[in-house]
Symmetry: C3
Subunit: 319 residues, 3 copies
């Protein structure tokens, strides 16, 4: 939590990954992306590259690189190298290590993700407690419109969660990696206060947060002011999913509606947030995300916006 004197990057070199969220884990023909020929992987990564990205996060809703056979991982790594990508971090999604049903399986998977990270040059892995979707969420226009599972109010589960993330922290540290825990509603990382409490309970130098406030500001329910949340969690940030939303509240009727928004014009000021983060010593990679619409196109615009903000934070004149 000490303020760093000077970040490792300037505005042009700061790593900003494209999330692979816009790409499904299932190919048009119904087969798994996991089993797709390398050409299919190349196709989408080339599309990402063609929009100017030089960093990518192989979000595991698209491809679980931790579960690739060695020869297939080589194929993946070759493509990444051929396209000139670096991989600052790997994000796992909906693989909760305290899932009521798949906790052990997900823990084992999480260890495998840590094992694969150094092989693709990643320095950080983003874990979360995001639950599997409820059926109504899958049918919704935007999944956050519908309630999902909640982590239980159960000290034993909390303690298990702490112990397992600490175990993953040890593993990460042994590999020179860090872990970022993604904030997400109705989990033990569902509020700023809970997130700080969890990471403090874990109390491991390799374990921090992914202050993905976009997950919270899009909820159709009252939320804490974003800047208040951010002030609490930013000191722990090790990786940062950035995305924004329009948010409208009508107190008279109680209606709250949100829509995915470009990073610049959504309700959260990333100009302020980035300044706050640099002030707090944040030195990690960004990952641009966007749901709905042209996710990739908006992410590319968001990346350009983010660099313009970084330039204005005094990081532009380094060279």
């Amino acid at each position: 939590m000490q303020k760093q004197m000077s970040p490792s990057y300037d505005a042009e070199t700061w790593p900003i990954s494209a999330a692979m969220l816009p790409y499904p884990g299932v190919q048009p023909d119904g087969s798994s992306t996991q089993d797709a020929p390398a050409d299919a992987w190349y196709g989408v990564l080339n599309e990402v590259r063609s929009l100017g990205f030089t960093e990518v996060d192989p979000t595991d809703s698209w491809l679980r690189i931790a579960d690739l056979a060695p020869s297939r991982l080589d194929e993946f790594s070759d493509i990444v190298k051929r396209l000139g990508f670096t991989i600052p971090a790997i994000t796992t999604a909906r693989r909760s290590i305290i899932d009521p049903e798949f906790a052990d399986e997900n823990l084992a998977y999480s260890h495998r993700v840590l094992d694969v990270a150094p092989k693709v040059g990643a320095k950080v892995v983003s874990f979360g407690l995001l639950p599997r979707f409820m059926p109504a969420q899958l049918d919704a226009l935007w999944f956050w419109e519908q309630p999902g599972y909640s982590d239980p109010d159960d000290k034993a589960v909390w303690d298990l969660c702490v112990a397992r993330f600490r175990e993953l922290g040890d593993h990460a540290a042994s590999l020179g990696l860090e872990i970022a825990l993604e904030m997400y509603e109705d989990t033990y990382l569902g509020t700023a206060d809970d997130s700080v409490r969890l990471v403090t309970d874990i109390d491991h130098p390799a374990v921090g947060l992914n202050p993905d406030l976009g997950n919270l500001i899009r909820l159709h329910r009252p939320i804490e002011a974003w800047r208040s949340m951010f002030a609490k969690v930013v000191p722990y940030a090790k990786y940062w999913h950035v995305k924004n939303y329009f948010r409208m509240e009508d107190p008279a009727s109680g209606i709250i509606l949100t829509s995915p928004a470009p990073l610049e014009s959504g309700m959260m000021s990333y100009r302020l947030a980035v300044a706050d983060a640099l002030e707090a010593g944040f030195n990690g990679a960004f990952c641009v995300e966007h749901y709905g619409g042209d996710g990739l196109g908006v992410c590319a615009s968001n990346r350009d916006y983010l660099r313009s903000v970084l330039r204005r934070c005094g990081l532009g004149s380094r060279q």
Copy 2:
């Protein structure tokens, strides 16, 4: 429905028309645009040109070129030529050939539009079953907030509709033209399934669809997922009105709200839609539309966005 091997255009030459929607059919002084001096036409077309458009659709809510006297059509054509515009297609609006009151009149008008099309170089005419506005629609902030007329559930009317579009198809074919039928709620072209059924019943090589999903995704009611709709209708597309919307649904209260949105950031991914369309062999012109706000400015931004998407579809390296 055969997949074409190669489209006729590249990203820079693909025709993208400006709709004349932002311009009213009535002049500031209350007179009709139809009777306005050529200078008034020049003024607005020059404004469109000044935003970089090289194609224009003389939407007939602005000007009914089919109803111009020969000398006035010459004036119009001179302006178009002087400004360097081409006219890939002409869109008619709210001229239903099965209108309860004006069906015959509208049919005759539709034939006149086909007759005029070759004179301005147009290859496609977009017809639709859009009904006249209800009074409440005219008073609404956005007309789609209020219910409009519905085509009747009446086999005889359906058959008449089929017969008349086939008749127009014959006329079009005789002139080397094609017809695109615009999807629009509560008409026989109000859903993807109905649209396919209508065009299949018409069964005429010159008659296809205008898959204007923007008309549907903006409705304050449940809708079929856009990509599911698009997969059904895109094989028949001959001309394509493109526009986008923010769409918010609150399942708890049943509230659904929408707002006109830039093409890139609205809820429908035109990056995916364009890729799907090229895959399906779409080879027609686009027409950018936008309601409310600065329609022309947003249309120009949308055109630039569309070209950037076409470039990424592998069409950029032709020259």
Copy 3:
């Protein structure tokens, strides 16, 4: 109200100020911006300058330059000069001269603002009847979601208002200044008709309007169509706060929701509004405002958009 033959500016030189709205009147350490060292002022003004602004409005929610001691005003002026800013106008906020409690204090303050204006080169002061916030407004996501105070339906207060603005008009005229009265809901400037009535009652050549329709189109209640309002007020415009909103109305439920929007894509067409204003002889400065999100970044985009619109209004080819 005579139409001016030719405006004083072209598209590149037309003054477009950044509002200082994104910056608070309180420093991070809790102290007042008023008492902050000049370096703090420089920091934020430099940030504004770095986004390409050459004009700035020292909105008094950030800094009350009228209340600075002479030496501190010199510090402020030095910074403004050093950064190459001009100050076309000064905006006061929530300093109603008919405030139930602070009317006299606010009137005295308003005179001081007029006195300071020539010292920083300002030609216009924007006054308003904006009331102090209600507690619920301060807690709201956007303050306009909650009702605020209303000016009383009281002829005596109206007359006092007229008299005081006339008094300020005399003062302004004596200094070669003009006054623009900002439209704002539930005040005597809360509708287009009331605004015209008030300025007509004041009947002073130095007193006009600030047709800030953004304040009205964002309200969660029925409003007059923006262009109808604008036609009424634009002849009196002397300074113009521009901002835009997405606006959604659901007549079935009565729900109306709004969100801050970029100037180009919001529901009001600034392309039309600017054309209307030039047609009406508007010759004053613009001030770009934006609430929520990255106010400064959106304001900079809005400024660029505004210049592109001015260029298309035939003002681009002057040089």
